[in-house]
Protein backbone atom coordinates (compact mmCIF):
# COMPACT_ATOMS: atom_id res chain seq x y z
CA UNK A 1 0.00 0.00 0.00
CA UNK A 2 1.29 3.42 -0.83
CA UNK A 3 0.49 5.89 1.88
CA UNK A 4 0.35 9.59 1.36
CA UNK A 5 3.41 11.12 2.94
CA UNK A 6 2.77 12.51 6.33
CA UNK A 7 3.44 16.12 7.18
CA UNK A 8 3.70 16.81 10.87
CA UNK A 9 0.97 19.41 10.53
CA UNK A 10 -1.32 16.56 9.41
CA UNK A 11 -1.11 14.87 12.81
CA UNK A 12 -4.31 15.81 14.61
CA UNK A 13 -4.08 17.03 18.18
CA UNK A 14 -5.18 14.42 20.68
CA UNK A 15 -3.82 11.34 18.88
CA UNK A 16 -0.94 9.57 20.64
CA UNK A 17 1.59 10.59 17.99
CA UNK A 18 0.77 14.27 18.37
CA UNK A 19 0.66 13.98 22.13
CA UNK A 20 4.13 12.40 22.21
CA UNK A 21 5.58 15.22 20.13
CA UNK A 22 4.16 17.78 22.54
CA UNK A 23 5.36 16.00 25.66
CA UNK A 24 8.86 15.07 24.54
CA UNK A 25 11.54 17.49 25.66
CA UNK A 26 14.72 16.29 23.98
CA UNK A 27 17.12 18.23 26.22
CA UNK A 28 15.52 17.21 29.50
CA UNK A 29 16.76 13.93 30.86
CA UNK A 30 14.76 13.82 34.05
CA UNK A 31 11.96 11.35 33.43
CA UNK A 32 12.99 10.70 29.81
CA UNK A 33 13.16 6.90 30.13
CA UNK A 34 9.70 6.71 31.68
CA UNK A 35 8.22 8.87 28.96
CA UNK A 36 9.89 6.82 26.24
CA UNK A 37 8.62 3.59 27.81
CA UNK A 38 5.13 4.94 27.48
CA UNK A 39 5.63 6.05 23.87
CA UNK A 40 7.24 2.76 22.88
CA UNK A 41 3.93 0.97 23.48
CA UNK A 42 1.82 2.86 20.93
CA UNK A 43 4.01 5.45 19.27
CA UNK A 44 6.98 3.95 17.42
CA UNK A 45 7.65 7.25 15.67
CA UNK A 46 6.60 10.83 16.32
CA UNK A 47 7.52 14.36 15.30
CA UNK A 48 9.29 16.63 17.77
CA UNK A 49 8.58 20.23 16.77
CA UNK A 50 11.19 21.56 19.19
CA UNK A 51 14.02 20.14 17.10
CA UNK A 52 12.35 19.34 13.77
CA UNK A 53 13.25 15.67 14.02
CA UNK A 54 11.13 12.50 13.88
CA UNK A 55 11.88 10.43 16.96
CA UNK A 56 12.12 6.63 16.57
CA UNK A 57 11.46 4.61 19.73
CA UNK A 58 11.62 0.89 18.93
CA UNK A 59 14.76 -1.21 18.73
CA UNK A 60 13.99 -2.98 15.43
CA UNK A 61 13.30 0.34 13.68
CA UNK A 62 16.37 2.00 15.17
CA UNK A 63 18.58 -0.86 14.03
CA UNK A 64 17.02 -1.00 10.58
CA UNK A 65 17.86 2.69 10.03
CA UNK A 66 21.39 2.39 11.43
CA UNK A 67 22.07 -0.55 9.12
CA UNK A 68 20.61 1.09 6.05
CA UNK A 69 23.37 3.56 5.24
CA UNK A 70 22.29 3.57 1.59
CA UNK A 71 19.00 5.28 2.40
CA UNK A 72 19.84 7.07 5.63
CA UNK A 73 22.72 9.50 5.65
CA UNK A 74 24.89 10.21 8.69
CA UNK A 75 25.68 13.78 7.60
CA UNK A 76 23.41 15.22 10.28
CA UNK A 77 24.93 13.16 13.11
CA UNK A 78 26.93 16.02 14.58
CA UNK A 79 25.22 18.95 12.90
CA UNK A 80 24.61 21.79 15.36
CA UNK A 81 21.05 21.49 16.62
CA UNK A 82 21.07 25.28 16.87
CA UNK A 83 22.72 26.42 13.61
CA UNK A 84 25.90 28.41 14.02
CA UNK A 85 25.57 32.09 13.10
CA UNK A 86 27.15 32.96 9.73
CA UNK A 87 29.56 35.36 11.47
CA UNK A 88 30.85 32.51 13.61
CA UNK A 89 31.35 30.28 10.57
CA UNK A 90 33.15 33.06 8.74
CA UNK A 91 35.38 33.81 11.72
CA UNK A 92 36.32 30.15 12.05
CA UNK A 93 37.14 29.90 8.33
CA UNK A 94 39.23 33.08 8.51
CA UNK A 95 41.16 31.64 11.43
CA UNK A 96 42.01 28.41 9.64
CA UNK A 97 39.43 26.08 11.13
CA UNK A 98 39.38 23.41 8.42
CA UNK A 99 37.87 20.54 10.37
CA UNK A 100 35.91 18.24 8.05
CA UNK A 101 33.57 15.28 8.49
CA UNK A 102 35.64 12.14 8.51
CA UNK A 103 33.78 9.51 10.50
CA UNK A 104 30.47 9.75 12.35
CA UNK A 105 29.03 12.35 10.03
CA UNK A 106 30.03 11.06 6.62
CA UNK A 107 28.76 8.41 4.24
CA UNK A 108 30.37 5.85 1.94
CA UNK A 109 32.44 5.85 -0.16
CA UNK A 110 34.33 8.53 1.80
CA UNK A 111 33.51 6.86 5.11
CA UNK A 112 34.71 3.49 3.82
CA UNK A 113 38.03 4.92 2.60
CA UNK A 114 38.77 6.72 5.86
CA UNK A 115 37.57 3.93 8.12
CA UNK A 116 39.89 1.47 6.39
CA UNK A 117 42.88 3.54 7.59
CA UNK A 118 41.51 4.10 11.08
CA UNK A 119 40.79 0.38 11.41
CA UNK A 120 44.50 -0.36 11.32
CA UNK A 121 44.89 1.29 14.72
CA UNK A 122 41.46 1.36 16.35
CA UNK A 123 40.84 -2.38 16.17
CA UNK A 124 40.09 -4.72 19.07
CA UNK A 125 43.49 -6.37 19.03
CA UNK A 126 45.47 -3.14 19.10
CA UNK A 127 43.18 -1.68 21.74
CA UNK A 128 43.64 -4.78 23.88
CA UNK A 129 47.38 -4.14 23.85
CA UNK A 130 46.77 -1.10 26.10
CA UNK A 131 45.32 -3.29 28.84
CA UNK A 132 48.24 -3.09 31.29
CA UNK A 133 48.55 0.68 30.91
CA UNK A 134 44.83 1.20 31.35
CA UNK A 135 44.87 -0.99 34.45
CA UNK A 136 47.76 1.00 35.92
CA UNK A 137 45.98 4.29 35.30
CA UNK A 138 42.73 3.05 36.86
CA UNK A 139 44.62 1.75 39.89
CA UNK A 140 46.46 5.04 40.33
CA UNK A 141 43.16 6.96 40.37
CA UNK A 142 41.61 4.56 42.85
CA UNK A 143 44.73 4.67 45.04
CA UNK A 144 44.53 8.47 45.07
CA UNK A 145 41.15 8.45 46.84
CA UNK A 146 42.12 5.76 49.33
CA UNK A 147 42.06 7.09 52.89
CA UNK A 148 39.38 9.67 52.19
CA UNK A 149 35.98 9.52 53.79
CA UNK A 150 33.78 11.04 51.11
CA UNK A 151 34.51 11.63 47.46
CA UNK A 152 32.73 12.78 44.32
CA UNK A 153 33.49 9.91 41.94
CA UNK A 154 32.87 12.04 38.88
CA UNK A 155 35.38 14.65 39.96
CA UNK A 156 37.87 12.11 41.32
CA UNK A 157 37.71 9.42 38.63
CA UNK A 158 35.20 9.24 35.81
CA UNK A 159 35.64 12.77 34.50
CA UNK A 160 39.40 12.75 33.97
CA UNK A 161 40.49 9.16 33.66
CA UNK A 162 39.00 8.42 30.21
CA UNK A 163 40.80 11.49 28.85
CA UNK A 164 44.12 10.11 30.06
CA UNK A 165 43.32 6.84 28.34
CA UNK A 166 42.61 8.76 25.14
CA UNK A 167 46.04 10.34 25.61
CA UNK A 168 47.57 6.85 25.64
CA UNK A 169 46.19 6.30 22.15
CA UNK A 170 47.44 9.67 21.00
CA UNK A 171 50.83 9.46 22.65
CA UNK A 172 50.08 12.69 24.52
CA UNK A 173 51.71 13.17 27.90
CA UNK A 174 52.04 16.80 28.70
CA UNK A 175 48.59 18.35 28.83
CA UNK A 176 46.13 18.82 31.65
CA UNK A 177 43.21 16.47 30.96
CA UNK A 178 40.84 19.08 32.36
CA UNK A 179 41.77 21.37 29.51
CA UNK A 180 40.71 18.75 26.98
CA UNK A 181 37.57 18.04 28.99
CA UNK A 182 36.47 21.64 29.01
CA UNK A 183 37.18 22.02 25.29
CA UNK A 184 35.19 18.86 24.70
CA UNK A 185 32.19 20.04 26.70
CA UNK A 186 32.17 23.18 24.67
CA UNK A 187 32.18 21.27 21.40
CA UNK A 188 29.43 18.94 22.59
CA UNK A 189 27.29 21.91 23.54
CA UNK A 190 27.89 23.56 20.17
CA UNK A 191 26.87 20.40 18.28
CA UNK A 192 24.22 18.73 20.40
CA UNK A 193 23.13 21.34 22.91
CA UNK A 194 21.02 24.48 22.67
CA UNK A 195 23.45 27.33 23.27
CA UNK A 196 22.44 30.94 22.99
CA UNK A 197 23.91 33.03 20.22
CA UNK A 198 26.16 34.73 22.77
CA UNK A 199 27.44 31.37 23.96
CA UNK A 200 28.10 30.30 20.39
CA UNK A 201 30.09 33.42 19.59
CA UNK A 202 32.01 33.27 22.86
CA UNK A 203 33.04 29.68 22.11
CA UNK A 204 34.89 30.49 18.90
CA UNK A 205 38.36 31.07 20.31
CA UNK A 206 38.29 28.00 22.53
CA UNK A 207 37.13 25.91 19.60
CA UNK A 208 40.02 27.26 17.56
CA UNK A 209 42.48 26.50 20.35
CA UNK A 210 41.21 22.91 20.45
CA UNK A 211 41.55 22.58 16.68
CA UNK A 212 45.07 24.02 16.73
CA UNK A 213 46.05 21.66 19.50
CA UNK A 214 44.98 18.74 17.27
CA UNK A 215 46.83 20.17 14.28
CA UNK A 216 50.00 20.72 16.31
CA UNK A 217 49.86 17.15 17.51
CA UNK A 218 49.81 15.85 13.94
CA UNK A 219 52.60 18.23 12.90
CA UNK A 220 54.75 16.95 15.78
CA UNK A 221 54.16 13.34 14.76
CA UNK A 222 55.29 14.14 11.23
CA UNK A 223 58.66 15.07 12.67
CA UNK A 224 58.81 12.53 15.51
CA UNK A 225 56.57 9.57 14.78
CA UNK A 226 55.68 7.21 17.63
CA UNK A 227 53.49 4.18 18.22
CA UNK A 228 50.29 6.19 18.38
CA UNK A 229 47.15 6.98 16.43
CA UNK A 230 48.22 10.07 14.48
CA UNK A 231 51.57 8.47 13.63
CA UNK A 232 49.75 5.37 12.39
CA UNK A 233 47.46 7.47 10.19
CA UNK A 234 50.40 9.40 8.75
CA UNK A 235 52.18 6.15 7.90
CA UNK A 236 49.00 4.70 6.44
CA UNK A 237 48.58 7.80 4.27
CA UNK A 238 52.06 7.30 2.86
CA UNK A 239 52.16 10.85 1.53
CA UNK A 240 49.26 10.10 -0.83
CA UNK A 241 46.30 12.49 -0.72
CA UNK A 242 44.09 10.04 -2.59
CA UNK A 243 44.47 7.66 0.35
CA UNK A 244 44.14 10.15 3.20
CA UNK A 245 44.94 13.84 3.40
CA UNK A 246 46.79 15.60 6.20
CA UNK A 247 43.69 17.65 6.92
CA UNK A 248 41.68 14.45 7.27
CA UNK A 249 44.26 13.18 9.78
CA UNK A 250 43.97 16.41 11.73
CA UNK A 251 40.20 16.07 11.67
CA UNK A 252 40.44 12.44 12.81
CA UNK A 253 42.68 13.48 15.69
CA UNK A 254 40.30 16.31 16.58
CA UNK A 255 37.46 13.75 16.52
CA UNK A 256 39.27 11.24 18.72
CA UNK A 257 40.08 13.94 21.25
CA UNK A 258 36.35 14.13 21.88
CA UNK A 259 34.97 10.70 21.06
CA UNK A 260 37.57 8.72 22.96
CA UNK A 261 36.57 9.97 26.38
CA UNK A 262 33.36 12.02 26.50
CA UNK A 263 30.95 9.11 26.24
CA UNK A 264 33.10 6.87 28.45
CA UNK A 265 33.15 9.44 31.24
CA UNK A 266 29.37 9.53 31.15
CA UNK A 267 28.95 5.78 30.67
CA UNK A 268 31.15 4.88 33.62
CA UNK A 269 29.42 7.41 35.90
CA UNK A 270 26.01 6.20 34.72
CA UNK A 271 26.66 2.56 35.58
CA UNK A 272 28.33 3.40 38.90
CA UNK A 273 25.30 5.46 39.86
CA UNK A 274 22.91 2.59 39.09
CA UNK A 275 25.07 0.16 41.08
CA UNK A 276 25.32 2.47 44.06
CA UNK A 277 21.56 2.96 44.01
CA UNK A 278 21.31 -0.81 44.50
CA UNK A 279 23.63 -1.80 47.35
CA UNK A 280 22.73 -5.48 46.82
CA UNK A 281 24.21 -5.26 43.32
CA UNK A 282 27.40 -3.61 44.59
CA UNK A 283 27.70 -6.38 47.15
CA UNK A 284 27.13 -9.04 44.49
CA UNK A 285 30.04 -7.66 42.47
CA UNK A 286 32.25 -7.51 45.55
CA UNK A 287 31.54 -11.18 46.16
CA UNK A 288 31.66 -12.30 42.55
CA UNK A 289 33.70 -10.04 40.24
CA UNK A 290 32.99 -12.38 37.32
CA UNK A 291 29.61 -10.59 37.10
CA UNK A 292 31.34 -7.33 36.21
CA UNK A 293 31.67 -7.69 32.41
CA UNK A 294 27.93 -8.32 32.07
CA UNK A 295 27.26 -5.47 34.49
CA UNK A 296 29.12 -3.16 32.11
CA UNK A 297 26.82 -4.30 29.28
CA UNK A 298 23.72 -3.90 31.42
CA UNK A 299 24.87 -0.40 32.34
CA UNK A 300 25.32 0.45 28.67
CA UNK A 301 21.89 -0.98 27.92
CA UNK A 302 19.94 0.47 30.83
CA UNK A 303 21.46 3.91 30.86
CA UNK A 304 23.48 4.49 27.71
CA UNK A 305 25.51 7.66 27.76
CA UNK A 306 24.47 8.14 24.14
CA UNK A 307 20.72 8.50 24.38
CA UNK A 308 20.03 9.30 20.76
CA UNK A 309 21.75 9.50 17.38
CA UNK A 310 20.80 11.24 14.17
CA UNK A 311 20.19 10.32 10.55
CA UNK A 312 18.64 11.97 7.47
CA UNK A 313 16.66 10.20 4.76
CA UNK A 314 18.27 10.27 1.31
CA UNK A 315 15.01 9.21 -0.31
CA UNK A 316 11.30 8.84 0.50
CA UNK A 317 10.79 6.03 2.95
CA UNK A 318 8.38 4.22 5.19
CA UNK A 319 9.18 3.47 8.81
CA UNK A 320 6.97 2.12 11.58
CA UNK A 321 3.95 2.46 9.32
CA UNK A 322 4.55 6.09 8.45
CA UNK A 323 5.60 7.37 5.01
CA UNK A 324 7.96 10.29 5.08
CA UNK A 325 9.80 12.27 2.43
CA UNK A 326 13.45 12.52 1.46
CA UNK A 327 15.27 14.97 3.72
CA UNK A 328 13.38 13.89 6.86
CA UNK A 329 15.62 14.04 9.91
CA UNK A 330 15.43 11.17 12.36
CA UNK A 331 16.39 11.10 16.02
CA UNK A 332 16.98 7.44 16.83
CA UNK A 333 16.33 6.98 20.53
CA UNK A 334 19.01 4.55 21.65
CA UNK A 335 17.80 5.04 25.23
CA UNK A 336 14.40 3.71 24.22
CA UNK A 337 15.66 1.00 21.85
CA UNK A 338 17.86 -0.55 24.52
CA UNK A 339 14.89 -0.99 26.86
CA UNK A 340 12.46 -2.25 24.22
CA UNK A 341 10.32 -4.95 25.81
CA UNK A 342 10.21 -6.74 22.46
CA UNK A 343 13.80 -7.77 23.14
CA UNK A 344 14.32 -7.20 26.86
CA UNK A 345 12.00 -8.73 29.41
CA UNK A 346 11.24 -6.06 32.01
CA UNK A 347 13.45 -3.73 29.98
CA UNK A 348 13.02 -0.91 32.50
CA UNK A 349 14.65 -3.00 35.23
CA UNK A 350 18.39 -2.88 35.84
CA UNK A 351 19.54 -6.49 36.06
CA UNK A 352 23.26 -7.22 36.22
CA UNK A 353 22.58 -10.88 35.37
CA UNK A 354 20.47 -10.15 32.28
CA UNK A 355 21.37 -12.68 29.60
CA UNK A 356 20.98 -10.52 26.51
CA UNK A 357 22.28 -7.25 27.96
CA UNK A 358 25.06 -7.09 25.40
CA UNK A 359 22.65 -6.75 22.48
CA UNK A 360 22.09 -3.07 23.37
CA UNK A 361 22.71 -0.36 20.81
CA UNK A 362 24.80 1.98 22.97
CA UNK A 363 27.70 1.71 20.49
CA UNK A 364 25.42 1.96 17.47
CA UNK A 365 25.04 -0.69 14.81
CA UNK A 366 26.17 -0.98 11.23
CA UNK A 367 29.09 0.70 9.49
CA UNK A 368 29.38 3.49 12.06
CA UNK A 369 29.65 1.09 14.99
CA UNK A 370 31.91 2.63 17.65
CA UNK A 371 35.52 1.71 16.95
CA UNK A 372 36.54 2.49 20.52
CA UNK A 373 34.03 0.07 22.04
CA UNK A 374 36.66 -2.45 23.20
CA UNK A 375 38.67 0.10 25.16
CA UNK A 376 35.54 1.79 26.53
CA UNK A 377 34.32 -1.56 27.83
CA UNK A 378 37.76 -2.33 29.21
CA UNK A 379 38.07 0.85 31.26
CA UNK A 380 34.52 0.77 32.62
CA UNK A 381 35.07 -2.84 33.66
CA UNK A 382 38.36 -1.97 35.35
CA UNK A 383 36.88 1.00 37.17
CA UNK A 384 34.18 -1.24 38.65
CA UNK A 385 36.69 -4.00 39.42
CA UNK A 386 39.10 -1.70 41.22
CA UNK A 387 36.41 0.26 43.07
CA UNK A 388 34.48 -2.78 44.30
CA UNK A 389 37.72 -4.39 45.38
CA UNK A 390 39.07 -1.31 47.20
CA UNK A 391 35.78 -0.11 48.67
CA UNK A 392 33.43 -3.05 49.24
CA UNK A 393 31.18 -0.95 51.48
CA UNK A 394 30.96 2.15 49.33
CA UNK A 395 27.58 3.92 49.51
CA UNK A 396 25.94 6.83 47.82
CA UNK A 397 25.61 9.77 50.20
CA UNK A 398 21.86 9.95 50.80
CA UNK A 399 19.77 12.99 49.91
CA UNK A 400 22.44 14.57 47.73
CA UNK A 401 20.88 15.72 44.53
CA UNK A 402 22.37 14.07 41.46
CA UNK A 403 21.98 16.26 38.45
CA UNK A 404 21.99 14.68 35.02
CA UNK A 405 23.77 16.96 32.59
CA UNK A 406 22.30 16.41 29.24
CA UNK A 407 22.33 17.53 25.68
CA UNK A 408 20.30 16.06 22.83
CA UNK A 409 22.47 13.00 22.47
CA UNK A 410 24.46 12.45 25.67
CA UNK A 411 23.66 11.97 29.33
CA UNK A 412 25.59 11.51 32.54
CA UNK A 413 25.58 12.63 36.17
CA UNK A 414 27.53 15.80 36.95
CA UNK A 415 28.51 14.45 40.37
CA UNK A 416 28.46 11.20 42.28
CA UNK A 417 29.05 11.86 45.98
CA UNK A 418 29.90 8.68 47.87
CA UNK A 419 31.07 7.54 51.27
CA UNK A 420 33.98 5.26 50.48
CA UNK A 421 33.72 2.98 53.46
CA UNK A 422 30.00 2.93 54.06
Amino acid sequence: MTQAQLQHSDIPAGVPMHDAGERFHPFEHEGMHQLLAEFRQDVPIFYSPLIDYWVVTRRADVISVLRDHERFSAVVATQPVVPWPPELLQYLVDQGFTNESVQVACDPPRHTRIRSHVQGFLNPKKLQSFEAEVRALVQSYVAAINGKDTVDLVDAITYELPALIAFLLLGVKDIDPRRIKSWTELRVKLMHGHPTREEQMAAADDLLDFWRFSCDLVEQRKVNPGDDYPSWLLASRGGDDTRLTENEIKSLTFALLLAAHETTSNASANVLLELLRRPEDWQALVEDPSLIPNTVEEGLRYVSSVVAWRRMAKEDFELAGVSLPKGTKLLLSLASASRDEGTYENGDNFDIRRKNARSHVAFGNGIHFCMGAPIARMQIRMMIEELTSAFPNMTLIPDEEIEIAGVLTFRGPTRLPVRLNG
Binding site: R67, P124, K125, G366, F369, A373
Partner: protein, 111 residues
Amino acid sequence: MEKQKVRFEFVTFTGERQEVEGMTGDTVMQVAYDNGVEGVAAECGGSMSCGTCHVFLDEASFDRIDAPSEGEVDMLDIVASERRPTSRLSCQIKLEENFTGAKVMIPEMQY
Protein backbone atom coordinates in the same frame (compact mmCIF):
# COMPACT_ATOMS: atom_id res chain seq x y z
CA MET B 1 30.26 -9.29 -15.09
CA GLU B 2 26.63 -10.18 -14.61
CA LYS B 3 25.66 -11.21 -11.10
CA GLN B 4 24.85 -14.84 -10.51
CA LYS B 5 22.64 -16.41 -7.88
CA VAL B 6 24.46 -18.40 -5.24
CA ARG B 7 22.55 -20.87 -3.05
CA PHE B 8 23.95 -22.09 0.25
CA GLU B 9 22.67 -22.83 3.73
CA PHE B 10 22.96 -21.63 7.28
CA VAL B 11 22.92 -24.15 10.11
CA THR B 12 22.08 -22.82 13.56
CA PHE B 13 23.79 -23.93 16.74
CA THR B 14 20.85 -26.23 17.46
CA GLY B 15 21.07 -27.81 14.01
CA GLU B 16 18.25 -26.04 12.18
CA ARG B 17 18.93 -25.52 8.50
CA GLN B 18 17.94 -22.55 6.41
CA GLU B 19 18.53 -22.50 2.67
CA VAL B 20 19.27 -19.06 1.34
CA GLU B 21 20.11 -17.37 -1.92
CA GLY B 22 22.47 -14.46 -2.46
CA MET B 23 24.06 -12.79 -5.46
CA THR B 24 27.72 -12.91 -6.37
CA GLY B 25 29.47 -9.97 -4.71
CA ASP B 26 27.18 -10.01 -1.65
CA THR B 27 28.75 -11.00 1.64
CA VAL B 28 27.54 -13.94 3.68
CA MET B 29 26.72 -11.45 6.44
CA GLN B 30 24.44 -9.47 4.09
CA VAL B 31 22.62 -12.62 3.10
CA ALA B 32 22.14 -13.42 6.79
CA TYR B 33 20.76 -9.89 7.41
CA ASP B 34 18.48 -10.06 4.38
CA ASN B 35 17.05 -13.43 5.37
CA GLY B 36 16.63 -12.66 9.05
CA VAL B 37 19.06 -15.39 10.04
CA GLU B 38 19.41 -15.39 13.82
CA GLY B 39 22.76 -15.55 15.52
CA VAL B 40 24.86 -13.44 13.17
CA ALA B 41 24.93 -10.26 15.25
CA ALA B 42 27.28 -8.34 12.95
CA GLU B 43 27.12 -5.25 15.13
CA CYS B 44 29.44 -3.25 12.93
CA GLY B 45 27.70 -4.02 9.67
CA GLY B 46 30.72 -5.55 8.01
CA SER B 47 33.43 -3.06 8.81
CA MET B 48 35.50 -5.64 10.68
CA SER B 49 35.35 -3.88 14.02
CA CYS B 50 33.35 -6.16 16.27
CA GLY B 51 33.97 -9.87 15.62
CA THR B 52 30.26 -10.66 16.09
CA CYS B 53 29.53 -12.24 12.70
CA HIS B 54 31.70 -15.27 13.33
CA VAL B 55 30.73 -18.48 11.48
CA PHE B 56 32.25 -21.90 10.77
CA LEU B 57 32.33 -23.27 7.23
CA ASP B 58 32.34 -26.84 6.08
CA GLU B 59 35.90 -27.83 5.30
CA ALA B 60 35.50 -28.20 1.56
CA SER B 61 34.00 -24.74 1.16
CA PHE B 62 36.60 -23.20 3.44
CA ASP B 63 39.34 -24.63 1.24
CA ARG B 64 37.62 -23.65 -2.00
CA ILE B 65 37.23 -19.93 -1.35
CA ASP B 66 39.83 -17.18 -0.95
CA ALA B 67 41.80 -17.30 2.30
CA PRO B 68 41.04 -14.73 5.04
CA SER B 69 43.06 -11.51 5.12
CA GLU B 70 45.56 -10.76 7.87
CA GLY B 71 43.08 -8.33 9.46
CA GLU B 72 40.39 -10.99 9.55
CA VAL B 73 42.76 -13.56 11.06
CA ASP B 74 43.58 -11.01 13.79
CA MET B 75 39.89 -10.40 14.49
CA LEU B 76 39.26 -14.13 14.73
CA ASP B 77 41.58 -14.14 17.74
CA ILE B 78 38.97 -12.24 19.72
CA VAL B 79 35.69 -13.96 18.78
CA ALA B 80 33.48 -15.08 21.66
CA SER B 81 32.79 -18.68 20.65
CA GLU B 82 35.68 -21.08 20.29
CA ARG B 83 37.64 -20.50 17.11
CA ARG B 84 37.89 -23.52 14.81
CA PRO B 85 40.09 -24.26 11.79
CA THR B 86 37.27 -23.22 9.45
CA SER B 87 36.26 -20.08 11.36
CA ARG B 88 35.54 -17.00 9.29
CA LEU B 89 33.96 -13.59 9.70
CA SER B 90 30.85 -13.76 7.55
CA CYS B 91 31.24 -10.09 6.59
CA GLN B 92 34.51 -10.91 4.84
CA ILE B 93 33.24 -13.75 2.64
CA LYS B 94 32.16 -12.38 -0.72
CA LEU B 95 29.93 -14.77 -2.61
CA GLU B 96 31.36 -16.30 -5.72
CA GLU B 97 29.91 -19.18 -7.67
CA ASN B 98 32.22 -21.56 -5.84
CA PHE B 99 30.31 -20.87 -2.61
CA THR B 100 27.28 -22.74 -3.94
CA GLY B 101 26.26 -25.51 -1.58
CA ALA B 102 28.36 -24.26 1.32
CA LYS B 103 27.29 -24.94 4.88
CA VAL B 104 27.62 -21.91 7.13
CA MET B 105 27.39 -22.92 10.77
CA ILE B 106 26.49 -20.32 13.38
CA PRO B 107 28.29 -20.55 16.71
CA GLU B 108 26.54 -20.66 20.06
CA MET B 109 27.27 -17.04 20.86
CA GLN B 110 28.71 -13.95 19.25
CA TYR B 111 29.58 -12.09 22.45
